[in-house]
């Protein structure tokens, strides 16, 4: 039986603080251990906006706007991740539109996009 521990290995490989860049510079959001591969968390930005941070199965980090443009609700961080033609996306939990995690573009409607944010992991300071 495969134990579930090895499945989260990409996450455990990541140690340190997850940071996201806004207009005001890098913002520390959470520790890498708080991210679960395949799911997201929401972060409140200093200007009142919201970001959704995700960790995919290969250990890549992404951050896009959290507010679903189709409903106005801050829910994208609650969506499920998926892969289509090598692109990783999140599907909105409300009406299921998919957003490319790399650039925030909606895969189901070319005219719609959400913000996207550079994101990095700063190694934990000793």
């Amino acid at each position: 039986m495969t134990a579930t521990t090895d499945l989260s290995s990409p996450a455990t490989a990541l140690r340190g603080t997850v940071e996201l860049r806004t207009a005001d510079g890098w913002l520390a959001v959470c520790s890498a251990e708080e991210l679960l591969p395949g799911r997201g968390v929401a972060a409140l930005l200093p200007d009142g906006r919201q970001a959704a941070l995700f960790l995919d199965r290969s250990g890549r980090l992404y951050a896009i706007g959290n507010v679903d443009p189709f409903t106005g609700a801050g829910v994208l961080s609650h969506g499920l991740l998926g892969t289509v033609q090598d692109r990783t996306y999140v599907a909105s939990p409300l009406l299921k539109q998919r957003f490319d995690l790399a650039d925030g573009r909606c895969l189901d409607d070319d005219t719609v996009a959400v913000a996207s944010y550079p994101v990095r992991v700063e190694p934990a300071r000793a």
Partner: protein, 864 residues
């Protein structure tokens, strides 16, 4: 009814009088109306029974399914008025004067006719045995007969049916349904002597006896024993034995009601029946006879409704001046008596010169198949008992030489039968749907010329399969074969990541004891999809399979543990239902809809303290709306403390088992429906399935809990429970099908265990039981074979899987609030755990809250 003499003609210069308003009479009226005859002629109907035409074929459903006399009506509301038809109910014709062209009814009403149509049907034959008129002797023909039987049965504990034919078995089913110890006495050496041969009769007998009916064959009824009170006390049989019984139902065949015709000098057959020609006209050109009272031009009296309908059409055509003829009918039948499938077609008894039989008989499982083959190999007819699956292919093949040897057609699949004859072997002219007369060629044409790509498309295009549905399986095979022949690759895969169907993935997970999504994707996903993140289709689908089989394959029972947490749809992830503004709603389990005042107060207090909007749901529960993610654990701590547990309103899982108050309070109730609903809800709570599951239990046939609109519904009978499956409300409502009758508590639970596990095993994602039941090959019959008769030999496994689920159940919310790791996810913002989501806002409405309308900003710019 006023006594009038209506010999004068009204403005319409032609009068048609119909004597008899049964199923065939009504069909005749509809055929007249279709041809516009009712606009030109005055139509008068004399009907003996106190009610208009009703569905006599489904009389038994009055008992078995709680149908009311109104449910059985064949007459659409307003039909008579719309077509200006004068219907006199409860006033039978008593005399015909062919010289003056008048009919006189019992009330004295006399009507002149230009055309007279006799549709007087038949009467039950009662053998002339002493005591046949005693209190407690009945016939089985009309709704009034049924009501009388039902009333009398209240006072007795046993009943005997004289006659083991089609109607006799129907009557026996009715007596059984009334809770009587039931006997069938048949003079012939086997049951249904007209339709089946000795081997078929044996298989049938075994199955019927298995249902608790005692069968006596090869014996006659010599006398009905009558007690001092004038009531039936027993039957003396020709073998010298005495059968004690409280009532007797005669069902020893029917005879044509031809006395009106005899009395006015029209020729009748030696053994009865009004002689008619191919246009259904009697010797008198102004008089027609149709249905069971007529002796057709081929010298037969037809006792089935389909030939009667054809005769009605023929007479109406002739009267309208169109061409039409009735020269005889196919007597093929496929029916279900007392739950046993029986089919016979063509020359079932092998009366053709030089014909040969091929038989397969398995008395242990009640299966019998016989084919009659001509000396040149032509299939002439056959009899199927117990398993009639091949009827759809064999009947259309009748009259041709089948492409495989007949012995291969009677052997069961897998029992050394090297070839299974598929419908692709049928000729284009073979009729696949006999209800709507659609040939195989027409079905192929729908695919090749009309771009139909699915069974629903073809149904819509050709009407095939839209009536009785018995050909839908064959239809599906033809459509797939035609598509594949046309080079269309039918990808049945779940999504871009899995080439398998959900049912196939289920088997893989179960067989290889796979306990994680990644393991499944990386080993069994499509090439190129392995190692990816999958998608929002396959992740919840696999999560559901893992959850259903958790206890068996060794996956975590809690849906938020480890990898499973990343697979769940949002609702499952937060164990609550996301609403349009990102807030969540909460539904505590209220099993069976029963709740104490104390618990009701707790719900009220929680809702008040957290400012939640409350609404009573359709499933007899209470929904609390407007909670923020971070409030969910606080709310559930209060609810769990008060003894509540998760209601799984967020999951593709068992939702609720509704109930009526049942026997405990209701004067009509016959069983304790609330207790059964609670038992079922507690047994299946937490069971993850391909889609949500709803259920209900009604305490009597009045069905106040609406069980027939549920995935599995239970209706109490005097003897136990009837189980219905595959019902649905919503956008495509569907009445549930009866799966089994008169079950004990244990039998009911065992059957539901099997049914649910078989559904979970074979359904596609988000496929409700109603759709599944229509999609799965073989439909309800197949499901019944599997879960009732264990035709696949998997019932032990299905029961064991359910037992593992029941034993492994834990309340997800209680487990969550006691686990800091799981609780840590219930925050709006990972970097500000104490800050509520500012986009979740409410405004007041009718004394409660509602989401504040959100102004959408679809043009948010992409920033880097």
């Amino acid at each position: 009814m006023a006594v009038t003499t209506a010999t004068s003609r009204n403005t319409r210069d032609n009068t048609i009088v119909l004597v008899g308003h049964g199923m065939v009479g009504q069909r005749f009226l509809e055929a007249l109306a279709d041809r516009g005859v009712t606009e030109r002629a005055r139509v008068v109907v004399l009907c003996e029974e106190p009610r208009p035409a009703y569905d006599r074929v489904h009389l038994t459903s009055y008992f078995s399914e709680g149908a009311s006399p109104e449910d059985l009506s064949m007459v659409e509301d307003g039909f008579m008025a719309r077509h200006g038809i004068e219907l006199h109910v409860g006033d039978p014709a008593v005399a015909v004067d062919r010289e003056s062209c008048t009919v006189t009814a019992r009330s004295g009403l006399t009507v002149g006719y230009d055309t007279l149509v006799l549709a007087t049907g038949s009467y039950p034959f009662v053998p002339p045995v002493p005591g046949k008129d005693a209190d407690g002797c009945f016939v089985y023909r009309t709704i009034e007969d049924l009501l009388a039987i039902e009333a009398y049965a209240q006072g007795v504990s046993s009943g005997a049916v004289v006659g083991g034919g089609l109607l006799g078995l129907e009557a026996a089913g009715a007596l059984r349904g009334l809770g009587l110890d039931t006997h069938v006495v048949e003079f012939a050496p086997r049951l249904m002597p007209v339709q089946v041969d000795e081997g078929g009769g044996q298989a049938l007998r075994r199955s019927v006896e298995g249902l608790g009916v005692t069968v006596h064959t090869g014996v006659g009824t010599q006398e009905i024993a009558v007690g001092d009170d004038g009531r039936v006390s027993g039957m003396a049989l020709s073998d010298g034995s005495v059968l004690p019984t409280g009532m007797v139902v005669f069902s020893a065949g029917v005879r044509p009601r031809d006395d009106l015709a005899r009395d006015c000098g029209l020729p009748v057959g030696e053994r009865g029946g009004i002689v008619v020609d191919e246009q259904c006209r009697t010797q008198d050109p102004a008089v027609f006879a149709i249905g069971e009272c007529a002796l057709a031009s081929d010298g037969r009296v037809y006792g089935l409704v389909a030939p009667g309908n054809e005769m009605a059409e023929t007479a109406a055509r002739t009267i309208a001046g169109d061409a039409g003829s009735f020269t005889g009918a196919d007597l093929s039948t496929k029916l279900k008596l007392l739950g046993v499938d029986v089919a016979s077609f063509g020359d079932a008894h092998g009366t053709t010169d030089g014909c040969l039989d091929v038989r397969y008989s398995d008395a242990r499982s009640g299966i019998y198949r016989k084919l009659v083959v001509g000396s040149d190999g032509t299939l002439l007819g056959g009899i199927l008992v117990g398993d009639v699956e091949s009827y759809g292919v064999l009947r259309p093949l009748t009259g041709s030489v089948p492409p495989v040897a007949p012995e291969h057609l009677v052997l069961p699949a897998g029992a050394g039968a090297p070839v299974t004859l598929g419908p692709t072997a049928l000729p284009d002219e073979a009729v696949i749907c006999s209800c709507n007369n659609v040939t195989k060629g027409a079905i192929r044409g729908a695919v090749t010329d009309h771009d139909c790509t699915s069974v629903p498309d073809v149904k819509k295009c050709t009407k095939a399969g839209s009536s009785c549905g018995s050909c839908v399986k064959v239809l599906g095979q033809l459509v797939t074969a035609e598509l594949e022949a046309g080079g269309v690759e039918v990808d049945k895969g779940l999504c871009p990541h899995f080439a398998q169907t959900r049912a196939e993935l289920y088997e893989i997970v179960l067989a290889l004891r796979i306990s994680s999504y990644r393991e499944l994707l990386d080993a069994h996903g499509r090439e190129g999809a392995r190692g990816t993140d999958g998608c929002e289709v396959c992740k919840p689908a696999v999560a559901s399979i893992l959850a259903s089989l958790a206890a068996t394959v060794g996956a975590s029972v809690h849906v938020l543990d480890g990898e499973q947490a990343a697979l769940q749809d949002t609702n499952d992830h937060f164990l609550a239902n996301m609403q349009k503004n990102g807030s969540y709603s909460i539904v505590p389990r209220i099993p069976g809809g029963e709740i104490t005042p104390e618990r009701l107060i707790v719900i009220g207090e929680v809702a008040r303290d957290f400012g939640l909007y409350t609404k009573i749901t359709g499933g007899q529960r209470i929904d609390l709306f407007g909670a923020r993610v971070e409030q969910l654990p606080l709310i559930w701590t209060r609810l769990v403390d008060a003894g509540f547990e998760s209601g799984h309103a967020y999951g593709k899982a068992l939702r609720t088992v509704k109930s009526c108050v049942g026997q405990t309070w209701c004067r009509y109730g016959v069983q304790d429906s609330v207790r059964m609903a609670i038992d079922l809800e507690l047994r299946y709570r937490g069971l993850r399935s391909p889609h949500k599951l709803k259920s209900a239990v009604s305490g009597c046939a009045r069905e106040c809990a609406e069980a027939q609109s549920k995935d599995f519904g239970v209706i109490a009978t005097a003897n136990g429970w009837n189980l219905y499956v595959g019902g649905n409300g919503g956008a495509t409502p569907r009445h549930a099908d009866l799966l089994a009758q008169d079950l004990s508590d244990a039998e009911l639970v065992r059957l539901i265990d099997r049914f649910l596990m078989f559904y979970i095993r074979t359904a596609e994602p988000l496929e409700r039981t109603s759709v599944w039941l229509q999609r799965i090959a073989g439909g309800l019959d197949h499901v019944r074979d599997v879960v009732v008769h264990d035709s696949l030999g998997i019932c032990d496994e299905l029961e064991a899987l359910m037992a593992a689920h029941v034993a492994g159940y834990r309340d997800e919310w209680a487990d969550t609030i006691n686990d800091p790791e799981r609780l840590s996810r219930f925050v709006s913002f990972v970097n500000a755990p104490d800050t509520p989501d500012p986009t979740v806002r409410f405004v007041p409405e009718r004394g409660q809250i509602k989401p504040e309308p959100i102004l959408l900003a679809l043009t948010e710019t992409v920033t880097a």
